[in-house]
Structures are given as C-alpha cells and as structure tokens.
Amino acid sequence: MDYNKIRSLLEKYWEAATSLEEEARLRDFFVRHQHPLPDDLREAAPLFRYCQLEMDRELPAVPEQEARVLPISKAWPWQHWMKYAAVLLIMAGIGFGLRQQRIKHGQLIAAEFGEDTYKDPEVAYKETQKALQLLARNLNKGTAQMEKLSYFNEATEKVKAASY
C-alpha cells in the first residue's frame, strides 16, 4: 500500500475519524509490513501490532455449566407435613388447656353454690356430730389452759393488794 495513503489514514485514525474497515486496513498494513518504515509511520506500528495481538489472544473459556438456569422445583403440600403436624399439635394443646380450665371453673362454681356433701341425712348427722364433738373437745382443752392462767391472775391481784 502507498505510504501516502497510510499517512492520510493514520491522520484520520489519530483524529478518531476512521471507520472500522479503515482501521482494519491500517492494522493489516502495520502487522504485515516487513521492511523498515519511514520515521513518521514508525511510531504507530507498535500500537497496531499490540491491538492485533490483543484481538488474536485466546482468553480463558467461560465454563459452560455456569450458564445453566436451574428450574425452580414446585413444592407440594405434603412436603411440609411437619409444619402442618406442628400446627395441629399446638391447636390440640390450646383446646385441651381451654377444656381443663372450663372444667375447673365449673367445679369451683358447684362448690360455691352448694351441692350437699352427703346424700344420706343419717350419715350427715353423724358426721356433723363428730365434727361438733371434736370442736367441743378442743375448746375444752383451750379453756383448761385458760384456767391455769386465771390462777396467776389471782395471785398477782393478791400481791398487788398486799403491796398497797
């Protein structure tokens, strides 16, 4: 190729006004040229040779398996049986607790508004007697102790009277 044509193309190249085809022609010229170049063309040769090397350079391949797009597997309802079991268990627990509370509450009300303790009057009478006897016995025990105290009271009264 005529050096003058190369010169004019090169000027366009430095001005960023060349087309891709013109740049390819320049690259081709500088890569293939064997003989010594004129001084004004020599400066551009390393750049075009470098560009050609970069274009030809083999780059590491991108592994193909990275391109796989894995389908999202559909989750079936029975795959989550433990979740459902846990929910059922919690609900059963809450139900049982509520039931127990209701029973306890019913018993308290029954005790307050009185069902009789004994169905048979005879037994009730006897049990009452027993209870009253126990009460009387314990009361008597108490008063017996109080009698001892009264001796002390009397004694202190006498001492007081004597001292006056």
Binding site: Y13, A16, A17, Q34, L47, L59, E66
Partner: protein, 172 residues
C-alpha cells in the same frame, strides 16, 4: 423476560461479556464473578427488557459498572496485566534478538494503555481491540457520539505521545 428470551439473547453474548470484563480487570476469576453478577442483575431487571433497544450494550454497561465497582472496592492494582505483558508473543519472530525486542515493545505499549484513565482505556479497548462501532460504544458507555469521538481522539493522542517517546529512544 422469559427464560427462552434470556437463553436466546443474553447467554450467547457471555463470551463477549467475559472478554470485556477480563480486559477491564485483567483477572480471570474476577471476570467470571462479574459475569455471574451481571447475569443475575440482568435477570432481576427483566421487566426493563421490552424498552431496551440494544440488549448487548445494556449487558456490557452492567458488566462495566460492576467491574468498575470491583476495581474501586479492592483498590485494584493492575500489576497482573503488567506481568502478563512480558508473556506476550511477539509478531513474526524472525530472530531471538528481534523477538525479544518486539516483546519488550509490546510490554511497553501494554503499560502505556494500562496507564490511561479508565474512560480512555475502555474506549480504546472497545474500539481497537473488540472492534465495536462508534454507536455501539455510545450505547455501552452511555455517551453521545461526539463524546465518544472526543474521548477516543484524546486517548489515541495520549498513546501517540507516549509512543513518540519510545521512538525517540530508538525502539520500533
């Protein structure tokens, strides 16, 4: 966006996205991470799909933003690229001496481009190495046509000045 659309429009451009991310980050693992994140982001924003004119540019823009975030977050040092420059094979190895010299020159060019500001570097990569049209670069970088041309001109001008310095020292 349906799964079929994702398969037909987004997944085929993965190598291109990876190439772009790799050039920005100069690290294979980071580039793979970025691609994964970008694809997820695209998938999560699937409702924007109907209003998009250029799906590829949109994906590239997402990759670029994620890569820039990564660069900022890790205070990335582009040293791997510099190391890699030494591994480059010189073109047309005629003699060991010439091959070594050309390899050295390629390493210098790589350092010059790596040292450019991010915007300039990305534009040079997109245009001169990935072969995108001006309009595609506009879509990817979300810039106007004149902004792209101005930035490309400035980027090339900076590279040219650096290359002239190399030339002064007798390298070609």
């Amino acid at each position: 966006m349906s799964l079929e659309l994702f398969h037909s429009q987004v997944l085929p451009i993965r190598p291109k996205l990876f190439r772009f991310a790799f050039r920005l980050l100069n690290n294979e693992e980071d580039a793979k991470d970025i691609i994964q994140d970008a694809l997820l982001k695209v998938w999560h924003q699937q409702e924007r799909m109907p209003e998009l004119q250029n799906m590829e540019a949109w994906c590239m823009r997402i990759v670029r933003n994620l890569a820039l975030d990564k660069l900022k977050a890790r205070a990335y040092r582009n040293t791997e690229g510099l190391d890699r420059a030494g591994e480059m094979q010189a073109v047309q190895q005629q003699s060991p001496h010439l091959a070594a010299e050309q390899q050295d020159v390629m390493g210098r060019v790589h350092r010059i481009i790596s040292a450019l500001p991010e915007k300039y570097r990305t534009i040079i990569q997109l245009r001169d190495m990935d072969g995108f049209s001006y309009q595609e670069i506009c879509d990817i970088l979300d810039l106007t046509l004149s902004e792209v041309k101005i930035n490309l001109h400035r980027a090339r001008k900076t590279v040219r000045e650096q290359l002239q310095n190399l030339h002064v020292y007798g390298l070609q």
